[in-house]
């Protein structure tokens, strides 16, 4: 059995290590594996091809977490990424919104196990419908493959984001316009976002996910 080498904590509860000559990402967790990932003692491997946030961090962009943030997660799907965020924000609260029944039923299993996840079965494009449930949050994470994904993010940030709050959006070019060149789509998206936010960083998710970029934004003062 090979060992983890060069283990270092890059952010609260997030670790990088070398395993089998490959750089891998892990989160500190007292829970069992959730989607077939490997577990090393109290660390769960965070697979970049399964979770876009892992791809972002593995590409070298570091997000600083304190561990007690309140986070709104739009597009939780079956909860792969949420399970890791739940590890990271061990003293925080995650409001997770998903509208598709099939993956949500799997995600519910996770929510029952983890004390910091509040599952909301609702349409993320209608934040008014869950406005009485979600308080003001420090962070909005969005991974929704919808044509109007930028609108959805803006609407939700109007409702829920704190004054100095931040957000990460995973933008999928194919779902905004399948015939246009991804570059063109991304530029449009950035232009749209810059009207309301300060764009802290953006990058592609190659080689883990093609035709995707992530955008890290902060509320304009």
């Amino acid at each position: 059995m090979k060992e983890l080498q060069d283990l270092k904590e890059i952010s609260h509860n997030i670790y990088k290590a070398v395993y089998n000559n490959k750089e891998i990402l892990l989160t500190k967790s007292s829970y069992p594996p959730y989607y077939g990932e490997r577990k090393f003692d109290n660390l769960r491997e965070w697979i970049p091809s399964r979770s876009k946030l892992s791809a972002v961090l593995l590409k070298g962009y570091n997000l600083k977490f304190r561990g007690d943030e309140k986070l709104l997660y739009l597009g939780a799907a079956s909860g792969t990424t949420v399970s890791h965020i739940s590890d990271i924000l061990d003293k925080g609260i995650i409001y997770a919104v998903e509208y598709s029944a099939k993956p949500f039923s799997k995600f519910l299993e996770l929510s029952k196990m983890r004390k910091n996840i509040i599952p909301i079965f609702a349409d993320a494009s209608k934040p008014e419908n869950y406005s009485g449930i979600v308080e003001k949050v420090d962070f909005i994470y969005q991974d929704i493959a919808q044509k109007n994904q930028i609108d959805i993010f803006i609407k939700n940030s109007n409702f829920f984001l704190k004054e100095n709050g931040e957000g990460i959006i995973m933008v999928k070019a194919r779902s905004i316009d399948s015939t246009e060149d991804p570059e063109v789509v991304f530029n449009e998206v950035l232009k749209e976002l810059r009207k309301r936010f300060k764009v802290l960083a953006f990058n592609t998710l190659e080689p883990f996910h093609s035709d995707h970029i992530f955008v890290h934004v902060k509320v304009l003062k």
Partner: protein, 256 residues
């Protein structure tokens, strides 16, 4: 200003609701709720998050179950099973024919029996799809036919989604590949041939027309299917004159 929170109404003071499950489901606000409201709520009940989580999970469980049990989902899943079944029957029958030519043994006989059983099952599933389609989408079944109607629901994802699609999209459902090819050619300024029909081609009123008339009929039929799906989704009552209109139009186009 009054706000509705999951645990009660807030207007400078919080009035706890009697039933958290009920208020959780109806806490819609048109404007963002000020953060004081939540601060007050956290003070009002001890272990705020624990309680919220309990209610959220229970509500979500019920909602998801309701959603998963919907009849149009049932039809879609049945249709998928039916597709697989038909394919299997065809493959098995082919193998059976090969086998019978070589040797008519006992095993080959029981294969034949099993195939016949599968065919019976296929009829049963078809009957079930028909029954439910007539119940949940009578107009769609009437205008498009049960099979095509069910297929359209499957492709759209649900009856709700089909009801919100424009007729022009319904017209080309199932022809996405050639449609997007045509669109990307048009964007480059080249000539393109946009598909006239997707799976609605299976409808006898389109299939039986000569090629040059199919586009016109497909356009008309798609618009009627869109209306039928909307009537089914929102009211559910049968409008009998719709199919007559379609037939009328078909005869006029066929004769012209």
């Amino acid at each position: 200003m009054k706000y509705r929170l999951w645990l009660g109404d807030y207007d400078n003071d919080l009035h706890l609701s009697k039933d958290f499950f009920k208020s959780f489901l109806s806490c819609k606000n048109d404007n963002p709720v000020p953060s004081e409201a939540f601060e007050v709520a956290k003070k009002k009940i001890s272990n705020y998050y624990e309680e919220l989580r309990k209610v959220a999970i229970e509500v979500a469980e019920k909602e998801v179950e309701k959603e998963l049990k919907r009849e149009d989902r049932y039809v879609v899943m049945l249709l998928k099973a039916l597709d697989e079944l038909i394919e299997s029957i065809n493959i098995l029958e082919e193998k059976y024919r090969d086998l019978v030519e070589i040797k008519n043994s006992g095993v080959v006989e029981s294969l034949n029996r099993s195939i016949n059983d599968l065919k019976k099952l296929r009829k049963e599933i078809e009957k079930e799809i028909e029954d439910i389609m007539l119940k949940i989408a009578p107009n769609l079944s009437e205008v498009a036919g049960v099979k095509l109607g069910a297929r359209l629901i499957e492709k759209a994802g649900s009856l709700e989604k089909l009801a919100t699609l424009p007729a022009s999209t319904i017209q080309v459902i199932g022809a996405e590949k050639s449609l997007f090819k045509a669109i990307s050619r048009m964007k480059k300024g080249k000539k393109a041939r946009v598909p006239k029909h997707g799976i609605i081609f299976q409808h006898p009123f389109i299939r039986t027309l000569p090629k040059r008339k199919r586009g016109k009929m497909a356009r008309f039929l798609a618009s009627k299917i869109a209306i039928a799906a909307r009537v089914d989704y929102f009211s559910g009552e049968l409008k009998e004159d719709m199919i007559e209109e379609v037939r009328h139009r078909y005869e006029r186009i066929a004769r012209s």
